[in-house]
Amino acid sequence: MSKGFGSKIKNISDTNLLLTITIVVFFLMYIGAMIFQGEGFLKPQALFNILNANAALIILSCGMSIVMITGGIDISVGGVTALISMCCAVYLDKAGGNVAVSVLIAILIGLGFGLVQGFLVAYLEIQPFIVTLAGMFFARGMTTIVNTEPFNVSNEAFVALKNTRIIVPGMGSVNRLGNYVDAYVEIGVIVAILVVIVMFCVLKWTKLGRNFYAVGGNSQSALMLGINVKRTKFIAHLLCGVLAGIGGFVYFLHVGSGSPSHASGAEMNAIASSIIGGTMLTGGVGNIIGTFFGVLSLSTIQNIVSSAGLDQAWWTGITVAAMLCLFLVVQSVVMAVRKKGSVK
């Protein structure tokens, strides 16, 4: 860091600094992809496809970020997503239910997990990791109890909803045959963007949101400043649960099937996205916009890896872990440098 730049950087908050890093990394990566991978990444639809495929992850990551900002963690979100997909699939297909109720089911399941886990973490003061690890195993196990075999949903109303494409005007491109193809996003993307906006506002402009930061920054101090720390933690887990419910349904809407192996590793992707997006594991620092770009960065790099010929499934896992490791180190280095600069 140069000196003139350094003094400017000093006055920016940790959250905004990490957010800037995230956004810069994303654009560099995307531009790099455009230059080296060419075509595929040049079309706007490439970006929209990333969004389509990751709408659910964006929502899950928002919940994860909120919990992580309060200094906790929730690794049950992947399992909850699988459970929701399976429950909704069974309800729609085998019980012939309607779509609106299935949305309600999804949210209720998420809410249930949030309630129980939040209570155990906040009021019984059990380590969030143990609680949500058990939550994850419970959700995965329940998924197979509900139904063991993966199957596609053929409920008409649902399929119609699943195939709804929202055209993005002016972003279309010409395909190989010379026809103009409109760019589109799925409904899930709209939901995801709404969630991002709402959660951003909650974190930025409500007392509750600021309490999340205070509790994560220093829960002892937060208590002294007159914040109800237990309730704040509880609400964070509750919100994460509800978002897992919404994200679970969006995931289901995208894949259109129920399977016990759905969303495997989603918790890890969500944690990685949050961390890449500038959320600190230690709590108190993070931003929903950053998380949004975190998801995009993560999937962009996955796309780069797979289009570079390394498309075997195992590369995905390794890439995610490597990115996570890298950003953890970057964070600790940046923070160490800042600390040295500010404490004299």
């Binding site: 006055n11 908050s13 402009w205 309490n211 930061y213 205070a214 220093n218 101090s221």
Partner: protein, 504 residues
């Protein structure tokens, strides 16, 4: 009732299981004064403050605010704040990741929506009026510690506080920062706020305070105008020794003299660590007992920690029998034959869940190395031997050390170091918080060890003990060595005047 009193505490009693922490303490704070609350460890000042701020509930007594006849009840910290009693603690209780303005207003403004613009405007106004060099939008962790401390004060002041309690606010600040803080305090005094100032820096008391209340052993010693209480008097009141009867207790010790041609066992030059002490010189001879003395926080523990390698040593030389050695971590010191009984028994000494036996053999086991554990029979034998030797009262060697009384825990730690047969043993407050009988036992033991050729550094807050055991005292004030006393200088009067410094 005095007219301009903002706070009166009358006949406050508080006991904890087995300890009487406060007995019949009175305290009066007047409008627009800075009032120092002084006392050594265990004097009861922090208990008094916790009673006042609602952390503890008092057993007996009355608290009056603003000269009202009706007494007030303070049941929780929140209630205290509502009544206008605001504490600011040594460790900053703000959130480092939030902005300055948020730290000033979070948790105490109504409504669910955060109005950033109004908050920042209010904050900037307040910061400006108090002359605090910070911007509302700045992240707190980018401010210096002094500024953070001031922001905590600003928050307290803004809650319409009548009684501002500053609990050792200056202990992690440098001189310029302290100056800024004092300016703020004087400014607030001018506005009629009553400030209770707890500190262990004498210079600071005489710089800003108007009155001093001295406490000792849970009792009130007295309240004095600052001009009526010279420093030596203050020190003697804190330590509980009247100047008149000081001369009587001259030492029963034998003065120590180094034999011809013998080098000091350990010698340090210009040693200093990251714990904030100024570089110091020190040496100890074979069979000598010496001590570091000074008020709490004067840096006496930090010195011995630096010798033992417990803090990160930043510079200086260490010599053993004249040969230079390197000590960068405790195991180095242990290998050179140094043992260290730490000041904070609970945090740094005992390994709570382990048995008495394991606690005794721990240090020696580390010295012997990973592959040479004592067999169960050997460990039992050693444990029994030391339990008997030091008369440790425990149900068995298997009992977890945390269920022993403080004195017996201390003896176990002592046994741990005796087992390593050190050439040089550092005892940092070995007698704190333990019963009289054990105290005497430990003093006797120290003298016995020294007569057998062991070198001992003994640190204690109680001057009698130091005088009885040490043949040389290194006096510290404000984290630097200010004097060394031997022979006929070893009496309470000269110690106190050295500690107090300045006027005599």
């Amino acid at each position: 009732m005095e007219d301009n009193a903002v706070l009166q505490m009358r006949n406050i009693h508080k006991s904890f299981p087995g300890v009487k922490a406060l007995s019949g303490v009175d305290f009066t704070l007047r409008k627009g004064e800075i009032h120092a609350l002084m006392g050594e460890n265990g004097a009861g000042k922090s208990t008094l403050i916790k009673v006042l701020t609602g952390v503890y509930t008092k057993d007996e007594g009355h608290i009056y605010l603003d000269g009202h006849e009706k007494e007030v009840q303070v049941r929780s910290p929140q209630e205290a704040q509502k009544l206008g009693i605001s504490p600011v603690y040594q460790e900053i209780t703000l959130c480092p990741n939030l902005s300055v303005a948020e730290n000033m207003y979070i948790g105490r403004t109504p409504g669910a929506v955060q109005n950033w613009r109004k908050m920042n405007k209010d904050a900037d106004k307040l910061l400006k009026s108090l002359d605090i060099p910070a911007k509302a939008t700045q992240q707190l962790s980018t401010c210096s510690l002094a500024v953070q401390q001031m922001i905590a004060i600003a928050r307290a002041v803004d809650t319409d506080c009548k009684v501002l309690i500053l609990d050792e606010p200056t202990s992690s600040l440098d001189e310029q920062e302290v100056e800024k803080l004092f300016k703020l305090m004087r400014d607030l005094r001018g506005r009629g706020v009553g400030i209770i100032f707890v500190t262990h820096f004498l210079d600071q008391v005489y710089e800003v305070c108007d009155r001093i209340t001295v406490m000792r052993d849970g009792c009130l010693v007295g309240e004095y105008e600052i001009k009526d209480l010279p420093r030596v008097q203050l020190v003697s009141k804190m330590l509980g020794k009247e100047l008149d009867d000081l001369s009587d207790i001259q030492g029963e010790y034998k003065s120590y003299e180094r034999k011809e041609g013998e080098l000091p066992v350990f010698e340090v030059e210009q040693l200093y660590s990251n714990a904030g002490i100024k570089p110091f010189d020190f040496h100890i001879d074979k069979g000598e007992v010496n001590g570091f003395t000074g008020l709490l926080g004067s840096g006496r523990s930090e010195c011995v920690r630096a010798i033992f390698g417990a803090d990160r040593v930043l510079g200086g030389k260490v010599k053993k029998n004249g040969k230079p050695i390197k000590i960068s971590k405790p195991i180095d010191a242990m290998r050179q034959g140094i043992g260290y009984l730490p000041e904070d028994r609970k945090r740094d000494g005992i390994v709570g869940d382990l048995s008495v036996r394991d606690n005794i053999i721990l240090a020696q086991q580390v010295l012997r190395g990973f592959l040479k554990p004592y067999s169960r029979a050997e460990a039992d034998k050693i444990a029994d031997e030391y339990i008997k030797l030091l008369n440790i009262k425990t149900a068995s060697a298997d009992t977890p050390i945390k269920s022993l009384s403080g004195g017996n825990q201390q003896k176990v730690i002592l046994a741990r170091w005796l087992l390593t047969h050190p050439e040089y043993l550092i005892l940092d407050e070995p007698t704190r918080g333990i019963d009289v009988g054990t105290k005497v036992d430990i003093q006797k033991l120290v003298l016995k060890l020294a007569s057998e050729g062991m070198s001992v550094t003994f640190i204690s807050s109680e001057m009698d003990e130091m005088l009885r055991t040490c043949s040389r005292l290194i006096v510290m004030r404000d984290r630097r060595v200010v004097g060394e006393l031997t022979g006929s200088d070893l009496n309470q009067t000269s110690i106190m005047s050295t500690i107090a410094g300045g006027d005599k």
